[in-house]
Amino acid sequence: MRGLVYKDFSALMGVYKKNLLLVAVLYGFMAVAMKNDFFLYFGIWMMSFYALTAFSLDTQCGWDRYARTLPIQDWKIVAAKFVVGLLYIGIAVAYSIVMGVVSRIVNGTLAHSWGGLLSTTGLITAIVVASTSVIYFLAIKFSPEKARTYFFIVFVAIFAGFYLLDRAGILEDFPIERLQAFGLWLEGHIALAVLLALLAAAAVFLVMLAAACGVYRRKEF
């Protein structure tokens, strides 16, 4: 699997090296200058989409057909893709934490906000890992292009659904105080919440990986 991970990692770096450097510098600068961590968190999400390009590169060059002829088990070919996704997310998370700390040092807010940086990064990481796992499964089942499309459709549908429910007055009876109470509980137990979110993301990752392996095994190229 080492060879497969290296293949995707170096192919992606070949494609995106300059782009990644530019985005890292730009988002890092904006996070510090505007005292806004959003750019760092957004970078984590973006990195997972950069890694998805590995599927498109494989399709372009017919790699899947060639890979089947190599002495590698099918699950390793799939797992390598998921591992590369995690590696890219990991790089973005590390960069996000480093730049978050730099931003707080520059702006003199490190003493009272580093905990928030870590917990938010943890929650964002959990969301990105879970959503990336679903997208990767869809990319293997259908294609990377369809996976991106389906994901955005679901994303938009969720927000549109809430908007329409609100417009229809259905959300008026929603027990908002329970949601607020849950929010307060989260604030009080943030470390536990982050841990649970990361565990849930790990579970989604493993389930999607297993499902993707099953799909890949049945595929023909």
């Binding site: 699997m1 080492r2 060879g3 497969l4 991970v5 290296y6 293949k7 170096s10 192919a11 070949g14 494609v15 590169l57 494989d58 372009q60 060059c61 017919g62 790699w63 899947d64 057909r65 060639y66 089947r68 002829t69 190599l70 002495p71 590698i72 088990q73 023909e220 190229f221």
Partner: protein, 284 residues
Amino acid sequence: MENLIEVHGLCKHYKGFALENVDLTVPAGTIVGLIGENGAGKTTTLKSILHVIRPDGGTIRLLGGDPAEEASRSEVGVVFEDAYFYGGLSARQISRIMSGIHRNWDSGLFFDYCRRFELEEKKPVKDFSRGMRMKMSLATALSHHPRLLVLDEATSGLDPVVRGELLDLFLEFIQDEAHSILLSSHITADLERVADQIAYIHQGRLLFQRDKDELLEDTAILRCAAGEIDRLPKELVLARHSGPMGAAALVRSPEEVRRCLPGAVLDQARIDEMMQFIAGRDIQ
């Protein structure tokens, strides 16, 4: 003699195309040329042998094992015309990747091939010419000391000089009688030069697998009047064609044909002419 590939009764069905009961063997120390028209089933056969697709029926033994088992594929080198690494990778990166995939990857041998083929180690594959890319694919296929090479249209689109180099390499590869090559190609002249056996797939069926020299000696083109062809025993006529210039037939056992039709004009049949006859197309 040991068979490195044994295919019996291979079937694969698609909408509009079916591969039916293909039997094929690749004995050790031989080059088997797989020929057939576009869409005849050559690539489907190769993909089935290499575990890229699952056959609907039949059995396949690859180096004595099941192609689905990774161990069976560990001593096979594969070159597809249109499937390889992403073009942004260099030879150096490809070697590093393959060293993580093949246990017996020999990077020294790989770079020897790169030098022999004049392939720059740091240059991305996409910057190579088609011939160089094919050489790179072949260098990759050879550098884990495979016993068997499976090559799908590996010489198509290459100039005669590059093709000649690759064909020499194929002959070098099988010299010790333990290695074999299954080579699918439209360039029948290449197969006439290097193949020991010819397997012909037509419309999803294997029409024959024969020793190449025997096939060329035992098959001829008879040019005569249509009525004369009718006088021949049916088993001698493989295919026939009538045109404005007269009639012609692809016949077996030229000596027997001569006995039946003394004075008949018999030309040696080339492999591509056999294909054209059998496929029912005009010949020049």
